[in-house]
């Protein structure tokens, strides 16, 4: 099966920057996989996202999206397959109302109106925003605006959705709302998700994590493997999930802890069995 995203030896250098933004980046994302890319500010995460759909052209290297090689001729076909949700909920809302915004991408592709009406309705239902179809963006919360942005993307029936720090400007409630929505969408469709984030809890939900540092892939692995690095992550300017911090603190106090990553529930289960005499 062809991978959803295959990047090999990608290099990118901003014209007026001292250091290259991306150096020899190679990775693959399988169809239907959820991969998180983490890294500190300026590690090249967002630059990588923009290289995947031709918003930026790589200096060298090959980007394959669902079997198509990114080039001048394929860029529009690839943009139809890759949707990006950006960071700022306000600055990506083009339409005057929710429904208009969802339709924007479809209008761009010249989809007939009859089909547009169906797809907009479906997309709004998928993100639970049908009741807001005629609302103006000014009357929506940040989380709702990001949901509309996601609806605008799924209306185009893409294969891949990239969340480019899509939750970083939201309050905690909005953040969980969006993550839950992505999990829900993945349960019903074959969507490949690439989430670029420095929210460690978002990364913990992914199937696989790629750690980017100064434009290079430092390491990749399952969330459990990555978070097991603990102190090294902190040295790279990244946070560690709370259960992992607690684990490290307990280990330091001489409590025997497992080496694998535990989420909050797993940790609670481990801790109580530790003390249980049953």
């Amino acid at each position: 099966m062809t991978p959803a995203i295959a990047v090999s030896h990608l290099n990118f250098h901003y014209p007026d920057a001292d250091h290259p933004a991306l150096q020899d980046v190679s990775f693959e994302v399988g169809a239907g996989e959820w991969v998180a890319i983490i890294g500190h500010n300026g590690s090249g995460k967002s630059t990588l996202a923009k290289n995947l759909n031709g918003l930026l052209a790589p200096d060298s290297g090959v980007v394959d999206i669902a079997g198509m090689t990114l080039a001048e001729e394929t860029v529009w076909a690839i943009r139809a397959k890759v949707g990006i949700v950006f960071q700022n909920p306000d600055n990506q809302f083009v339409g005057a109302t929710v429904a208009d915004d969802v339709a924007f991408g479809l209008e761009n592709r010249g989809i007939p109106r009859a089909e547009m009406l169906v797809r907009v309705q479906e997309a709004l239902e998928a993100v639970e925003m049908s009741d807001f179809a005629s609302r103006e963006p000014a009357r929506l919360s940040g989380g709702q605006k990001q949901r509309v942005a996601i609806a605008g993307i799924i209306a185009q029936r893409p294969d891949i959705i990239i969340l480019d720090e899509a939750t970083s400007m939201l309050d905690p409630a909005g953040r969980t709302e969006i993550i839950r929505l992505i999990q829900q969408l993945r349960a019903t469709t074959q969507l490949t998700v690439l989430s670029i984030t420095h929210d460690i809890d978002e990364a913990a939900k992914a199937d696989r994590v790629i750690l980017l540092n100064d434009g290079q892939i430092k390491t990749t692995g399952t969330p459990a493997e990555i978070f097991a690095y603990g102190p090294e992550l902190l040295a790279l300017g990244l946070d560690v999930p709370y259960p992992e911090k607690l684990k490290a603190a307990l280990t330091a106090r001489g409590v025997a802890m497992p080496q694998t990553y535990l989420d909050e529930e797993g940790l609670v289960a481990y801790l109580w069995t530790l003390h249980s005499t049953m």
Binding site: W76, R79, F104, P137, A138
Partner: protein, 264 residues
């Protein structure tokens, strides 16, 4: 800041609210043109009654229309005064040097006043019953034939639509910057005119820089969603004429005939 409503649109479900925005736009221009046909008491009276019928049909309180007249009051009074003092003819009621109030002057002044008020009422009626976005759609649709001579109508319409969409966003931004500057001790709205103008500078510059940031983000987002410019695009929002639009046209024809019949 949020009280500043763009276009002063009042949501409603009256007959006038439901009219196609193109009909309303064209009819308003047409109405303003035919008012100039009125030239005696009878024709002005007819136009006045017709306007009041339309105002009643909108189910909007008369007070909103009066508010439309207020900002124009000085211009109206100035024009009326010019007419009153400088039109010669008929009986002379009062004179002082080269100034004179004559019979013709008074009637002309009254007609001009009437014309102003009616024009303001009708344009207010248009903006009160039509959302700005619908007006933008109407302009796009009506200007569409200009594409043939190379005017980028769809692009201009998109620019207009995005401008309308970002008004509230920029307002929020302004409030945020104002609060940030207040926290640093800037005092808006006090002091003399010069001091107040100076207080606006630290507001405008960040706002200006911000709007460029927004524009860049927006352009990236539009690009990512496959925007390639005008021609191959389809439209989600479309305008459709209904029988009521024909009735509105008929109403305009009746008014025109009435004017032609009544005018001197």
């Amino acid at each position: 800041m949020n009280k500043l409503l763009l276009g002063r649109y009042l949501p409603g479900d009256s007959w006038l609210h439901k009219l196609d925005p193109r009909t309303k736009l064209m009819a308003s221009f047409y109405y303003i043109a035919i008012i100039f046909l009125a030239n005696n008491w009878q024709s002005y009276l007819m136009m006045f009654v017709a306007t009041m019928i339309m105002v009643a049909a909108s189910k909007i309180r008369l007070g909103f229309f009066m508010r439309g007249v207020r900002p124009m009051l000085w211009l109206i009074l100035f024009t009326v005064a010019l007419q009153v003092f400088f039109t010669k003819g008929g009986a002379v009621y009062w004179s002082w040097g080269w100034l004179a109030i004559t019979q013709y002057g008074l009637t002309n002044g009254a007609f001009i006043f009437m014309r102003f008020v009616l024009i303001i009422f009708v344009s207010t009626l248009l903006t009160l019953t039509t959302p700005p976005l619908a007006l933008a759609d109407a302009v796009e649709s009506l200007l569409h034939p200009l594409r043939k001579i190379g005017v980028p109508v769809t692009e201009l319409a998109l620019v207009l639509q995005i401008a309308l969409r970002f008004v509230p966003t920029l307002m929020d931004q302004t409030t945020k910057i104002m609060n940030a500057q207040r926290a640093r001790g800037v005092d808006f709205g006090s002091g003399n005119l010069f001091q107040q103008m100076k207080a606006v500078v630290p507001l405008l510059i960040p706002l200006f820089v911000d709007s460029f940031g927004i524009a860049e983000d927006l352009a990236t987002a539009m690009d990512a969603r496959g925007y390639q410019g005008g021609d191959g695009r389809t439209k989600y929002r479309i305008l459709q004429y209904h029988p009521r639009d024909v009735y509105a046209g008929g109403w305009m024809v009746i008014l025109t005939l009435g004017l032609v019949f009544l005018r001197a």
